[in-house]
Amino acid sequence: MAGRIIENEEVVPNVRRLVLEAPQIARRARPGQFIIVIPDEVGERVPFSLADWDADAGTITAFYLEAGVSTLKLSRMQPGESVHALVGPLGRPTVIKKYGTVLVGGGCYGLGAMYPLVRAFKEAGNRVVALMEGRTSYVIYNEEKVREVADEVIICTADGSRGIRGHVKEAFEALSEEGRKFDYAHFVGCTYMMMISSKATEPYGIPTVVSLNALMVDGTGMCGCCRVLVGGETRFACVDGPDFDGHKVDWDQVFSRLAAYVPQENLAYQYLKCREAGSVRASPVREEVRP
């Protein structure tokens, strides 16, 4: 059954690999696309990037960070259970072309999401350099997979415990200072990383694409929740993206919209914890109107 959990394992602290049964998504998936998951019947629709798929086995893989209610709920689900809903693949696939030397930089969940990009750019005949960033050495995951398909893997850590000290941006700058040339750059992961990395490639005139993670509801272009300003135009990240030109994205607006629900997200998180601790119950009025 689509949505059955095959694996839901913590790979490094706070990051899990989720493997789901989804034969139809697996046979259609292309690099750069995402899925939407609803953890349980009262859940919201949460997007995750596709980090791998296996059309023969009928499975898909995503990596997620435990960030709030939805991902907390997911983290507690066991193999054999099913998510309430699973839809995909969504979004335009990344445009894969032969550019020459391609830099793919990832951090956070992007360490997972970068794998299909690296693989596809490699298959298209590029020389692919994968830049993998983490706060510290032991939070880097998915490295073996990326190594299988990249020409070169460069690790960078914020605390300097492994590889280059710094983030994707600093690593890119270090490589550029060494005289390395890139014909195309692609960043996926947390918004801050994507922004500063895009700003870093701009002076070099390197075409740069980012996979944005705007807040979404339906994921089919129906609601406009995911709108982002790119080159002065409003675009819907779920259907026009999630990939956009990193030099044209209005980053202030992206950050602002991402923060729209922070108080509610915190409330929902605390509420879930309190309910689990038995200190609040759903109010009777609410129970009454519940389906």
Partner: protein, 483 residues
Amino acid sequence: MSKRPQLTPRERMAIPRAKMPEQDPAARATNFREVPLGLTPEQAMREAERCLNCRKRPCVAGCPVGVQIPEFIALVAEGRFVEAARLIKETNVLPAITGRVCPQEVQCEGNCTLFKKYGGVSIGALERFVADYEREHGLVEIPPKAEPTGKKVAIIGSGPSGLTVAGDLIKLGHEVVVFEALHEPGGVLVYGIPEFRLPKDIVRAEVDYLVRQGVKFEMNAVVGMTYTMDELFDELGFDAVYIGVGAGLPRFMGIPGEDLNGVYSANEYLTRSNLLKAYLFPDYDCPLPPAKKVCVVGGGNVAMDAARTARRLGADVTIVYRRAREQLPARAEEVHHAEEEGIHFQLLSNPVRIIGEAGRVVGMECIRMRLGEPDESGRRRPIPIEGSNFNIDCDQVVIAIGSAANPLLTKTLKTVKLNKWGYIEVDKNNRTSDPRIWAGGDIVTGAATVISAMGAGRIAARSIHAYLMGLPQPGEEGAEGEQ
């Protein structure tokens, strides 16, 4: 219909129009339960006595699907409610829904002989009554099914038009699969129209009814992404496809400030509330933060639904509409309900800019309008009055100025012709330029009504059936069942 108690027309006209019991405005403005409570059997029978059984049946002419109105009303008058429901269902498969949401005052009731002087017969309320009666008493019967034909039909979209096609074709013995992008079936009936106007139990009951007849629903399937059209035909073996994907692309105004936090399309606002049950946050996870003052831009049903939802979430709500009250396109009942619930109307006004602070909405600048000459739509065109700008304080703005064709599926179709606005072109049988594909509802007409989407579905179903069985197309030489 001679068995009816013999009242004279004068006596019939003397019966006052039934007043549907409603939740008190003050109470209902804080809950999401249905507002009109439905007629009692006595009220329904009394209301039915008002019908004059006009020979020319003007009411029927006003109904887009030609419900046999005087005939079903005669059955109501005799207390034969279930028979009345079944008679309606011969032309309209979702009477519990249309009875609630049709704009009756411009359709059946607006055409009723009694409309001007006495108020039309409450056809919608009666339709709702008999359908509720049948359902609530567990008297809905599964209709007999024709022998399996071995033909398979895919329906894309589970809105009213898709559901109608499914219902018609399953009875004729075809295998029917409905593909739906969202996780709940019903289209606008579940994600757009709020609970207080159309309880979701009713939509669910209609879907269950189709499931019991053998219709398969595949949810979370976005055709164009999860499946391609070619795959439906070539790999999954469908013989025909019906496209009923609605007009789900929100329109924005293109004014400064629309990307601020706190600005929503009506689709987003209503989807959060209805489909994802944000009004039950945090019992449900999807948030829709409460606002103090909400401005809703627009004057249709969608605007009324958004405004009344915001009111129930605790806000002080103003509807901003660029024409005058008489031009509000919403159903009369919705406008009336909105007014009763304390929603303000800022008419003849149009937003020019949304004002923000630290990324959030704090107000909206509007300009006053006056009405000029009639435009193509026959309505007087609103013209801005220069220098009349004014500000409204608000912390949320909901934009409900209409929707357009969502290209997600249509842009992947090579053989289906679209018009210049991206809607699908069809012939009089709702067949597209690809002879294996039909389309209907909002994706053909642009945003319209539930009943017209159902009407299109009915026409398409007949044509699909003829195609599958190798019969002449309806309207062609030798076609059966021409009416």
